[in-house]
Assembly symmetry: C2
Homo-oligomer: 492 residues x 2
Amino acid sequence: MFESAELGHKVDKATWKKQVPALREALLDAQYDLMENAGFPVIILIGGVDGAGRSETVNLLNEWMDPRFIETHGMGEPTDEERQRPRMWRFWRALPRKGRIGMFFGSWYTQPLLRRVYGESDDADLDQAMEDAVRFERMLTDEGALILKFWLHLSKKKQKVRLTDLEKDPKTRWRVSERDWRHYKLYDKFVVVCERAIRHTSTANAPWLIVEGEDEYYRSLTVGKTILQAIRQRLAHPPAASAITAPPLIAPIDNLHILKSLDLGQKLDKKTYNVQLEEYQGRLNLLTRHKKYKDRSVVAVFEGNDAAGKGSAIRRITQALDARFYHVAPIAAPTEEERAQPYMWRFWRHLPKRARLQIFDRSWYGRVLVERVEGYCSQADWMRAYGEINDFEDQLVRHGVILVKFWLSISKEEQLERFKAREQTPFKRFKITEEDWRNRDKWALYEQAVCDMVDRTSTEIAPWTLVEANDKSFARIKVLRTLCERIEAGLG
Amino acid sequence: MFESAELGHKVDKATWKKQVPALREALLDAQYDLMENAGFPVIILIGGVDGAGRSETVNLLNEWMDPRFIETHGMGEPTDEERQRPRMWRFWRALPRKGRIGMFFGSWYTQPLLRRVYGESDDADLDQAMEDAVRFERMLTDEGALILKFWLHLSKKKQKVRLTDLEKDPKTRWRVSERDWRHYKLYDKFVVVCERAIRHTSTANAPWLIVEGEDEYYRSLTVGKTILQAIRQRLAHPPAASAITAPPLIAPIDNLHILKSLDLGQKLDKKTYNVQLEEYQGRLNLLTRHKKYKDRSVVAVFEGNDAAGKGSAIRRITQALDARFYHVAPIAAPTEEERAQPYMWRFWRHLPKRARLQIFDRSWYGRVLVERVEGYCSQADWMRAYGEINDFEDQLVRHGVILVKFWLSISKEEQLERFKAREQTPFKRFKITEEDWRNRDKWALYEQAVCDMVDRTSTEIAPWTLVEANDKSFARIKVLRTLCERIEAGLG
């Protein structure tokens, strides 16, 4: 895999001197066009072996282009805020917005590779991390990002020469650390591990680009020209709306579906309700003071028909809790900064730190519900959302987040009653809009979307709880009980 | 000061039961109106002595209103990301946006008060922190925020009774910690310190509201009604555009001003430039690897006439540095999320962590330059900006940030030459817009604004460096040399 990068590629000084001015100008020009276009971000990864010129390349690119519009991230040890969230959180928060360039020196590959080389993890762990990387990059390119992954290579012999040279020169001595020599000793192992990783993660949408690192001129011109060409090509040929036409999802011809299987007539009398409300609120409160709870966090998702009672169910939860330790994120239309990022970005930014309960009042499921039905995104977009959502939730659960998802279901008749009642109550007028009435006309389409959502995202690690919500008391208790049970199970 | 809060205020249960439903409804209604109006945020501080019902109050308000639109912050120990920035950074990042309610349980008062009580600081330190608080709140209310600072009080005797009661009940025992009893022993000292602080920080725009904490009904109704009234009053009577008409600033009648005192004819020949460029870039690079540097950070601000060469001066700096350790923030029009926050919010969010150099290409000075001249803000707004800016920079410097500010100055003739040249160069076309030509027509107004800016914000801790920039070589070297010297001085 590295054969072509050990051939001794070279560019002579005359060629370098001749080509650099035009390349710089063209890169700068491409960068400004990218910014004006603002249709996609460019994500550049600079990986490779020590001494192959990674930091020189990062610095040079910042020199050649306009550094004001490049965000360079040297990803070192995670901060404590980062450690409290799933591994990928720190990369999500560092993503460049559309029109900008983000350069990662140290990326989502670094830690998994080093841990494997140091023997702190096994092949299965590495493969899992690489699968995470593939899915992450797939999501990014589906969202339009241009990803350029450079791997700067150096043979073992050349690495030794390079480190020795750097050490000899007083001006560059500081750049060679003990860590570099330790890595040198692990060279063979490192190359085997990296080859495995590169093989797994060199995809059509985000291939690795291996560049021989020894000769500075060759390396720099190659990287620079590749970036230029990639940006130019993308600007000239914006990706067509996904060519993939997904096969139609199953629409049951017998008209039987999961929502119909719910017994919406279930009720709870006032007395039982009051007793159980106190019981479960007390239990929930105790759970959040459980000693194991302080290392965990809870994410509770609320979706449901309009007027199904999400808000009031949420309040029965928050009433039981100390307000310092929960947060409710009401999900409405994305802001301008959110629109300049991948769809899932605005949910990542709300992930709670340890010992916190985060409630999403509507959520990432918007894409497969309202956006699907109203045509706010393409079929390809909402079809891929199922996979992205499962991936996201998998990352949460693997990090130790207790994830609970509720769909509050009411009948069409019950909704009508509630809409009318809302229009009568002054302080609820806020809750009923023209849009609610319009959504109601598409009842059947929403029903189909909900069934598909449940079928495709109710997983063992993150099952949906369907809540029969025609009776508010019944619904609230079911929500509270489920939440308690899920947290209890999670704490073990 | 606490006399009225030790009278034994009480509300009987019947009154409570009668009044609460209407109050809740009215609060909810006010909250929705606030959201629809979206003209200002509401910032509620809940302070006071232990056992006076602070957390109960926070929880109750979240119960009475819609918790989805309240952000409650229990400010504990700062995280490592927070410790690397000035003290107020964590509060800036927690500010609610317009239309929302932010509730702080633990605020900018907590740490300074506790440190004083514990004897870790003296009165002067406390006074300084209180002055910081006053300025911060002044800025917030000038930006339109409604601030409600509640102080829940309890006499020493009542505090003891309360803590003992809580401890006796198995359901509430967990809430009394050793820390509470330690505080109880410090009660007298605590009250003296707090009284001093409250006295200093009870301003007309953000007065403290002292509430007797013993009786739950009295306390809750009082806080709830006060919030309701305050929101209602503000919605009904939006603050008039500042009634204060600032006296006109001095416009020198002899037409002599600081920019005219610059010798723009200064030049550097190519050879000297190349030698010095290498010298200063090397020196700068070494400085960022100085062992004292790793606990500091640098903020460099670039302002200047259009086409004065800010971008190219910045690049001479970044060329010398490792791209992982600097970041350039180009300041353009604020985003939607930024517009929903106080003016300075978008600069706070870019503050660097330790061992980083942050360059602002244009900056917070926009308000006293372009916004003043173009009338994008009122005179009252840009007049108060001088003070807010000095305060901001003072906080940076006190935190150990090395702050360097450059004004790049060119003559009107030189600007014309450069505009024309830019229009001719394809990859610079991006840099010249209609707006640049329009700004040029207001040359004299900008000149006046710059002079006022320098007069009012060139302080001992954060002086302006005026850079004669008709000759690019001269300007770049002056910038690099100044930056080196300031960092050297800062590192001691």
